[in-house]
Subunit: 468 residues, 2 copies
């Protein structure tokens, strides 16, 4: 038996352990971070570990690693497991192509390009559009920012930053905007955080007022980041109204749909990003709403020349056959690049666009179940709004930070908290499309049972397990 055959057998054996564990203990056995290195032998040593010990150790690692695919994981903007996407990603590991050239990626290039082409159509971009697969949502925003910077000041690419560029995003947008401004040489102080309305959406009038002020000050408005699904509330900035402004002042408009941009696949919810075809770039993460393994981020650009201008570099040692359209390294940040496209393609191909739509619609339907439950139960207070898969609430005025931490530390369910306009609350996300209506109701039941048994919640962090 060759090494690879025996290790594939071991993989299958361990997957069985994992899948059983996910059913019997949907929340992983937790190791306190302080005790991690004493609890499990993570050490790397000179000598090899014998096979039996290695297998047993891997089993321990699997059992104690947080389980993101189960029906009690609601902590992040991803969760669950689309099995057809798993299939594609497992194959990508075996194939191990790098996506820079057709010579070493072959049909995988076409797989990536077909996803991009179809996505551009969904968005409403024209034939000059194209895109790439960045390594995540932050990187998607960063690449958009670099293109915006280079579009406004084409000399910057060669000569470096010299002009006073300013950029705009809402207060509710993702923190990558701040980091990216620093990375691009624009500086974090040159971001204008535009106020959001009572539902967490950027206020276009405030945006325009700020742009005018900056123009008066001799600054150069360069980039507006609109968000399709804000990190906490899942709110959608009004793209159409923002596009009126960016077109008027000739500013690059990027729509960050990392969280909820996948609504492009749903005729029912696509209206939430109405106007997206007017943007210069748009990104979404298939590893969020569409449930592929991490990471699967897609960045679309209305004018592919911008992508090429900012990211191209000649490299004779690398680009030796086939044309630019097939050598994808010419439009990526990276050189070597993992195949993140195959997993999305296997999912999309096997369930069709109709299947993708069903995933999206189901997530909103699950959100409606949660909203209805909360609204009909006076022990809950709701902080979020319709048309969002982030359900924000508090229960019986219990401190949400203490509650989430206690739920986590006692391995009850994994969920996080967020804040908006001075309120802090539990943020419950119905993004795992494997969940049923019953799973959503079960979450509330689990939470209520936990609170009932542990009435003194502010002290729960110090409580012994016996207490609850």
């Amino acid at each position: 038996m060759s090494d690879i055959t025996s290790d594939l057998a071991l993989f299958n054996e361990l997957v069985e352990v994992l899948l059983n564990e996910e059913k019997s203990n949907p929340v992983a056995e937790r190791i306190d971070s302080d005790k991690l290195y004493d609890s499990i032998d993570l050490s790397l040593n000179d000598s090899a570990m014998v096979d039996g010990d290695f297998k047993s150790l891997l089993r321990d690692v699997l059992v104690t690693t947080p389980k993101t695919a189960t029906n009690l994981f609601f902590n992040q903007l991803f969760g669950g497991r689309q099995s057809k996407a798993i299939l594609g990603d497992l194959l990508a590991v075996m194939l191990n192509n790098s996506m820079y050239t057709y010579k070493v990626a072959g049909p995988q290039v076409g797989i990536e390009q077909e996803i991009i082409r179809q996505s551009c159509e969904m968005v409403g971009y024209g034939p000059e559009s194209n895109g790439t697969f960045p390594t995540g949502g932050s990187m998607s925003n960063y690449m958009a920012l670099v293109m915006a910077r280079d579009a406004k000041d084409p000399d910057c690419k060669s000569a470096g930053m010299s002009k006073q560029l300013v950029i705009y995003t809402s207060k509710e947008s993702h923190y990558s905007n701040s980091k990216n401004a620093s990375f691009a040489g624009i500086g974090r102080d040159n971001i204008r955080y535009i106020e959001a309305d009572s539902k967490g959406r950027m206020i276009p009038e405030k945006l325009e007022a700020q742009i005018k002020e900056d123009l008066n000050d001799g600054l150069i408005p360069t980039y507006v980041n609109a968000t399709a699904g804000t990190t906490v509330l899942g709110a959608f900035d009004p793209v159409d109204k923002i596009a009126d402004i960016t077109e008027k002042y000739n500013i690059w408009l990027h729509v960050d749909g990392a969280y909820c941009g996948s609504v492009i696949f749903s005729s029912k919810y696509k209206h939430l990003i109405a106007g997206v075809e007017r943007s210069n770039s748009f990104s979404y993460n298939a590893h969020k709403m569409l449930g592929t393994p991490l990471t699967c981020s897609i960045l679309l650009v209305k004018d592919k020349k911008q992508l090429h201008y900012s990211f191209n570099n000649e490299a004779d040692y690398l680009y030796q056959t086939d044309g630019d359209d097939f050598n994808l390294g010419k439009t990526s940040f990276q050189c070597g690049r993992r195949n993140d496209a195959l997993k999305f393609w296997t999912l999309w191909k096997s369930i069709g666009t109709i299947g993708l739509k069903q995933i999206i619609d189901h997530q909103f339907a699950l959100a409606d179940v949660a909203l209805e439950y909360i609204r009909s139960n006076p022990d809950y207070k709701l902080y979020s709004f319709d048309d969002s898969i982030s359900i924000c609430f508090n229960f019986k005025n219990i401190d949400p930070m203490a509650l989430c931490t206690a739920l986590y530390e006692h391995q009850i369910t994994v969920v996080g908290f967020g804040s908006f306009l001075g309120d802090t609350f539990v943020r419950f996300v119905t993004i795992n499309a494997n969940n049923t209506k019953q799973d959503i109701l079960n979450f509330f039941k689990v939470l209520e049972t936990f609170v009932e048994k542990a009435p003194n919640l502010n002290k729960i962090k110090e409580a012994t397990p016996e207490l609850i």
Copy 2:
């Protein structure tokens, strides 16, 4: 049978197809890029594809995707397949953690940190060192550059670029240096390409002369990129001598070991990067010499405060439990981040540091086999040097570009060409540690047989398959 169970069964079935195919056809059936979309149904459609058709299509995709793990693939700076690393990466797909917090990554955080800690020790960094897993070698270089920029001009992070920073790298270094200068707001014109000696190594005296000139011109020398394994020749810049200069002028020294930095694991070859402990940052790609699946890049930083300064961002919605040492999102470029560490850890843990050393030493031994063959055969001319796993040669004065393209188009073997000091040649890389001495000799035999049957090589591109 659940979806995941049946898709795992399909995965196993397809892997068997793939492994058999790799044996019977080590070079994949090639589809001309012009004919790609007509030859294979990559289209994405509204409706789902029926299971049987889907399976048959996936089989076609597997068969026609370039095979990077076989004994006839020598085209890139990666190749082969370490089965224990495959195991880890397949498990990472199933686990699907994001590496930003301990709350959702748990022991995987410790796995990543243990690799970083041990690597820092190998390099000779002190207790204040740390690191991260960037998404590739280009990103490793970019993160190092951003840290260098922020170290030289701490205000840049907030205020944006305002000073005239200049950076240095050798003419033989990776092209990401050029792109990165643009991304960071420094500008491509502000890179100084330092001349290399006759063996492709940066000439320290030229570096110092250039730094002096820039200082005289009122510019600010900020960053030197030294390369451990240049892209074409696999040459090692003299780190110790370069460190004398960077220390003297207080310039950040980054050692880009994407290709050959893994020599830190070999007592026999570690001397090639003597002085690396004096650098400020060092990166290597385990997906290159160590044979893990893409991508597995490690960036080490002597002073972890620099990593934190440039990449940290508070995010209350995200960092809710455990300390900074366990919430790795505070030192990464990204927010959500794939688990690239587990595959390297399963490899390292199972074969030990001794096993990693054997991999490295074996690659150099294979290179010696190739060198000996070439040196003892007058039909070959050698362009590369000892202590490199890039073997550069020409055969019978045949145009290397035409030869490589013909070998690829006729599915004989996959290998690329490179240039140095005006010469262009075949670049043959002995990085696949699964290969034996016999596989290396076989490559030459395959090449010679091909040339013999197709004497008019400049016309090979137009030749019909019958001709050869």
